[in-house]
Symmetry: C2
Subunit: 391 residues, 2 copies
């Protein structure tokens, strides 16, 4: 028994000592311990001067800008501290409820690395063309999104307005095909870098969040050619309030699916960076899909190598997301566009209602777990959001 | 005669008192006066407390976060001060040479608002399809670019490496079709806002820069479908070191070309925000093209209204660019892709050499002028860059 009196702070629960995700609450930088938060500022002096400075900030920005050795040292200290039998002097637990966006988002990039998702979307958006375009199996396709509208889990999502295809020219109004995309996000840290080799990826990724890349499919279908999605995505992107350190996922590493063609050298991995994360998506109170992250064709290490191979720098606070996670089976699809097959096959909810796309008042919660050391389960904190009517 | 002893600081020159662009040099925030810079910190106390604080910062970020009344007040004070016959106490002129990126770029969006450019690129990239896609005449097409690689004029551009289409599968290596895009950029300021009506655009745009959206056409052709350009653009985007205030361009306002179909209400302008800027692009020492900004189909006010109509916020420091400025005539095209028609029609330089795309060592300089009050000429500071070999 540790001094932390929380029934969810055991290895049987996803936020036991094996996980220790970082976030920011009213009291400053904190770690999540079960269903509570441990603010670090009051106990910072016990970490030594350098770490104390990093965890006494108002955001995770200084910690992200540090490096992996410091991240490991802090994690080791915290593990010692939270598993002790006596509370360290000054330690006070706080509710999770005041968590905010814990870091300043630099650039936000969204990938498209699920083959099943890309094929499904290709069939729905371009029924007369090839489902998968020729570049897809050779590189992790991605694009830049809007960093300024990344928001923390729990923030309401206002239904976006915009142009969609109409009978004669475009129509304008609230989106009528509002959707989610269940994704995994990678929060960058460490020194500014370019040409990050796959073998160095872990030095430039601080940790993992869940991402809901809210998407207005009607706006997207009308606007996205030739330069890609823009207003269909830029109104809101939700992320977990707590960042699970990459180190907590060392037992979750798996080989990604074998690529269908030889990889260019810069995309080859020395070690496998596929991750065995099991996602669950709840639509109101019904679990509607369970996308398996292990099915993704491109790993975060490959995505980061690709993103920087042209000389582009990566900075602490940059965020990149995996793309919608869709498995091969129907109830593994990570978007409602796919789940309802373009709106043609309604999804039944447990209250007896059915849905194709999101209605006002709907709440979506995405959670994920991964295997941890010694049979434990590691959690990635939920990303939740409720749809509010267009204003 | 003013106390500023600079032959280029008269209304006959583009950086006379009618222009007064802001930048940041070693000494802090400064205004450009002819071929020199006037640092504001040493003379800040004469502006009153609020303005003194804004101009004593190490970047333009605090000034951008202020509002139009303050921007106008500062400009009026500066005009008074630089046109006085005696120097204010403490005033010292400095060289322009230490100018740096003057603000923190929030989100960077790149539009595609020249009809001539869109048609040219459409013909070159998709010879078998329609040159202009159906959405183009109804909305300002755009996408997000990489904010972290926006760099100040004068910074070298390293030739990017990446995948391009090969005989059997993709080839990898330094881009062999490195290009420019001559654009005009708008630096956002004022309070965070959403749904910025065209009539409010001037309250959310601090000023104007020139942008060179360096583009690797071979990388772009292979990667850009279906999610748009990514690595072809993300390695570098150059901007002017000095931001010309929007207020300096009040005489440059013109009506944009009449739209081919009725505009949706949110894109209608009460006042015309087309701008009569004359761009000049030099390739090494040869002026190869003179793109007319007045030919752009979508104005910055329409771009900003579109970008925020879905509920997305705009923040101080956000940057959006017009898209390549291409006029109807051959020598008005704003990219070398167009000027050389996909590499088929070499461009002759004055040293007797010819070019299709950029070679290592090439330097490109873009400048622009606009009509000012009383027959003066207002300048937008140059954006220059030299290509270095891939590393």
């Amino acid at each position: 028994m540790t001094w932390i009196d929380d029934p969810e702070f055991t290895g049987d629960h996803p936020f036991g000592p094996q996980t220790l995700p970082y976030g920011v609450i009213d009291e400053g930088v904190a770690v999540r311990v079960g269903g509570q938060a441990l603010p670090l500022r009051p106990i910072a002096s016990s970490f030594g001067e350098r770490l104390a400075e990093l965890v006494s900030a108002d955001s995770l920005d200084p910690l992200l800008a540090a490096d992996r050795p410091l991240w490991s040292e802090l994690r080791a200290r915290l593990l010692e501290l939270v598993t002790a039998t006596r509370a360290p002097q000054g330690a006070v637990l706080a509710p999770l409820s005041t968590a905010r966006l814990p870091f300043t988002v630099g650039d936000y990039v969204d990938f498209y690395s699920s083959r099943h998702h890309a094929e499904n979307v290709g069939k729905i958006f371009r029924p007369d063309g090839a489902a998968l375009l020729p570049n897809w199996t050779h590189l992790p396709v991605g694009y830049h999104g809007r960093a300024g509208t990344v928001m923390v889990s729990g923030t309401d999502v206002v239904r976006p307005k915009g142009q969609r295809k109409g009978e004669r020219g475009p129509a304008f109004g609230p989106s009528v095909r509002l959707d989610i995309e269940a994704e995994v996000g990678f929060v960058c840290g460490g020194p500014v870098a370019r040409e990050v080799h796959t073998s160095a990826a872990a030095d430039h990724v601080f940790g993992v969040v869940l991402v809901n890349d809210w998407s207005a499919r009607d706006i997207q279908a009308w606007e996205y050619q030739p330069l890609g999605p823009f207003l269909a995505k830029s109104f809101a992107t939700s992320v977990s309030a707590w960042i699970t350190p990459l180190e907590a996922l060392s037992r979750a590493r798996v080989a990604p699916p074998a690529p269908p063609n030889p990889l260019l050298p810069y995309l080859v991995e020395d070690v496998d960076w596929g991750l065995d994360l099991a996602l669950r998506v709840s639509w109101n109170d019904t679990v509607v899909t369970t996308p398996p992250f292990a099915s993704m064709s491109w790993t975060f290490a490959q995505q980061l190598a690709h993103m920087t191979v042209n000389g582009a720098t990566v900075r602490p606070g940059d965020l990149f997301a995996s793309g919608t996670v869709s498995g091969p089976d129907k109830f593994q699809r990570g978007s409602f566009l796919e789940l309802s097959w373009g709106g043609k096959e309604p999804v039944e909810l447990s209250d007896g209602s059915s849905r194709t796309f999101l209605e006002d008042g709907d709440t979506v919660v995405i959670t994920a777990t991964a295997p941890g050391e010694d049979g434990t389960v590691v959690g990635i904190s939920e990303v939740a959001g409720t749809v509010r009517p267009a204003v």
